[in-house]
């Protein structure tokens, strides 16, 4: 079978009994309530009963699966050289530390190292907490929303609900409108190995919140023996009339295989807007699945990336319409240099009930080098007859006329190319809710383009 070569050389060390014991010990060590342990264990059993993939799934077919570890371990962060004897020695400066925020939570070594919340946000009842802690203090809320987006998408997602060392719970009560973004900073402990993140975000009726999830690495230059796996399960709930924005930016260690599963449930006349920017990982695969089963919902997916070296950057998305008169829009823009590759598999699925749906997709890939490639695949599955849908996909070089125009004004070709490229990405970056974040993204784009361009 030809796909066999794509798979990792061997199924690694999944030992069900050890895992069960480890998950239980982990949960106990955090004094989690029984129902949370039960949720973990049930998810673990689901995961154990699943395959990683067969390789035939549309969502896996184009992934270089040999670069993705088939592994699920409870990471022992105490063993990390960055975490001497289980004590957090020093928290490195995070590249995305915000100027202003309504609340902030920072994770390192598998646990929360800092939390902060603005006075007003706290008075309004905003919750920004480690998940185990939230489960103890707000059991009724966490229990209500845990896993409420639906069954896990696949084995990684199922493990993701089971073996996280620490998760995060973000909550906006009914009618509360936040003025600044909330920040969830994650610092990758490069020496510790795999990271499993679990994030639950709930915006109650008529509330508005924006969360920026930013990933950085503590030692980007480390030469690692084994590629770390980072998996993030993110569950977004926007109740009726709520507006939830989620922006995720990462620059993990370059050897990382990063996989994320972002699921959203959009309530009646509610909105979820997801923006992601991928920079660091060797392999970055994002699944974004937004569910519009209520009437009048709005869902937006925006993705931005700059690939270099042999990076593989993949988006697998679903805009799932069931409500009447809901709208969704996907816009992915990427720039690929060297031999980097991108895949976008975007599905618009409209159930028979989803009349008056308006759903759109645009995928655009700029190739700056001959070795770079992209495979955008927009898909439509439409069972309702009164809908408006559109999709567009493009792969190509920078427009020579744009370059010529800039050059004709004295701007050297390399600078001109970078201007066009940054302009191309600006439209996505401009949608990020935080100004400082937009600047950081712009800087990262610049950094990512720099070494790749000066080689040629």
């Amino acid at each position: 079978m030809t796909t066999a070569t794509l798979d990792a050389p061997s199924e690694s060390d999944i030992k069900p009994d050890d895992l069960r014991a480890e998950v239980e010990a982990l949960s106990r060590s955090k004094s989690e309530p029984d129902w949370l342990l039960a949720f973990r264990l049930a998810s673990l059993e689901q995961a154990l009963g699943m395959e990683w993939w067969t390789g035939q799934e549309e969502s896996w077919r184009r992934t270089p699966r040999d670069r993705l570890p088939r592994r699920a371990r409870v990471t022992d962060f105490r063993a990390s050289v960055h975490n001497a004897n289980g004590r957090v020695t020093r928290v490195p400066q995070h590249a995305f530390t915000p100027h202003a925020h309504s609340g902030l939570i920072h994770k390192y070594h598998g646990d929360i190292v800092a939390t902060d919340i603005a006075e007003q946000a706290e008075a309004d009842g905003i919750i920004v907490k480690p998940l185990s802690e939230a489960a103890l203090e707000h059991p009724e809320l966490v229990q209500q929303w845990l896993g409420a987006v639906g069954q896990p998408l696949d084995r990684y997602d199922a493990f993701g609900r089971a073996i996280w060392t620490q998760g995060v719970f973000i909550y906006a009560p009914r009618g509360v409108v936040l003025d600044e973004s909330l920040f969830y900073l994650v610092t990758q402990d490069t020496a510790a190995g795999d990271h499993w993140h679990y994030t639950l975000v709930v915006a109650e009726r008529e509330s508005q919140l924006s969360l920026i999830d930013a990933g950085d690495a503590d030692d980007r230059r480390a030469d690692l023996d084994e590629s770390p796996l980072i998996h993030a399960s993110v569950e977004l709930i926007a109740e009726d009339g709520a507006q939830l924005q989620f922006a995720s930016v990462q620059r993990w260690h370059r050897q990382t295989a990063a996989l994320s599963t972002t699921r959203g449930r959009v309530g009646r006349d509610a909105s979820i807007r997801v923006t992601t920017a991928a920079f660091g990982a060797d392999l970055d695969k994002q699944r974004i699945d937004l569910d519009l089963s209520q009437n009048g919902g709005f869902a937006e997916i925006r993705g931005l990336f700059v690939g270099d070296g042999k990076q593989h950057i993949e988006h697998v998305t679903r805009q799932h319409h069931k409500g009447v008169g809901a709208t969704s829009d996907l816009l992915i823009r990427g720039v690929l240099t060297d031999e980097s590759q991108a895949v976008q598999y975007g599905l618009i699925r409209i159930e028979p009930e989803g009349q008056k749906t308006s759903a759109h997709q645009t995928m655009r890939n700029l190739l700056l080098d001959d070795g770079a490639g992209a495979d955008p695949i927009p898909m439509l599955e439409i069972e309702a007859d009164d809908v408006k849908c559109s999709h567009a996909a493009a792969v190509g070089p920078v427009d020579p006329d744009q370059l010529f125009y800039l050059q004709a004004r004295g701007i050297p070709p390399k600078v001109a190319e970078r201007m066009v490229v940054r302009g191309f990405l600006a439209e996505i970056a401009d949608g990020v809710p935080d100004e400082h974040m937009r600047e950081v993204i712009d800087e990262l784009v610049e950094i990512q383009l720099e070494p790749a361009r000066s080689n040629s």
């Binding site: 744009q402 125009y405 004709a408 004004r409 004295g410 701007i411 940054r422 302009g423």
Partner: protein, 255 residues
Amino acid sequence: MTSPLFEIDALEVAVEDKQIVNGLSLTLEPGEVHAIMGPNGSGKSTLANSLMGHPRYTIAGGDIRLQGTSVVDMPPDERARAGLFLAFQYPTDIPGVSMINFLRRAISARRGEEIPVREYRQLLNEVLGRLQMDEQFVRRYVNDGFSGGEKKRAEILQLGLLQPLVAVMDETDSGLDIDALRIVSEGINTFHSDDNAILLITHYQRILRYVQPDHVHVLIDGQIVESGDASLAERLERDGYEPFMERTKAEVLSS
């Protein structure tokens, strides 16, 4: 003897193996305005783009010299920094790149050093004011969503900011309303001095009433078939290109 400001010397230009400009020669001295008129498809834009070094156009023969130095082997950005300017017939839009950022880079490139912010703002406001353009205009992306007239005005804005030695203007007057034509013409006249020269490509005599040409050339099939003073433009307006076409046909037949 000093060399002329700008010389086009027996220039031949090909696009996709098809020769469009066929041995064209023209000399511009400082302080001069030359107008080129010619029917659609006669090769005016091909000439203009090739002078600026557009990669799609191949120089098949001849030479282009700025202040005595050949520019044919120079990439477009180098030509621009040396003082050559092209006002595009169809300016390209570049979404995501703001005018204000673009113009600052362009001026800095032309000057060979970063223009200080304060000086830049002053200069920008001055030229914007002269062209009766709103300050907000430069907040927009380069040519993105500009109306036809706004695009042409933006080209003149750049002319005023970059102060080239030789400005090639490809149908800058097309698509302008009466007031805009006057304002754009004034922009060109303000720029024009004894030190620079203008090559004005146009279909209409209208603009030549504002920007007075020292020489008018008729371009047909990639060749200059007639040159004269401003009165030649009036003749063209009256009689069209037909008489010149007939003549070139006759010449072709007899050769």
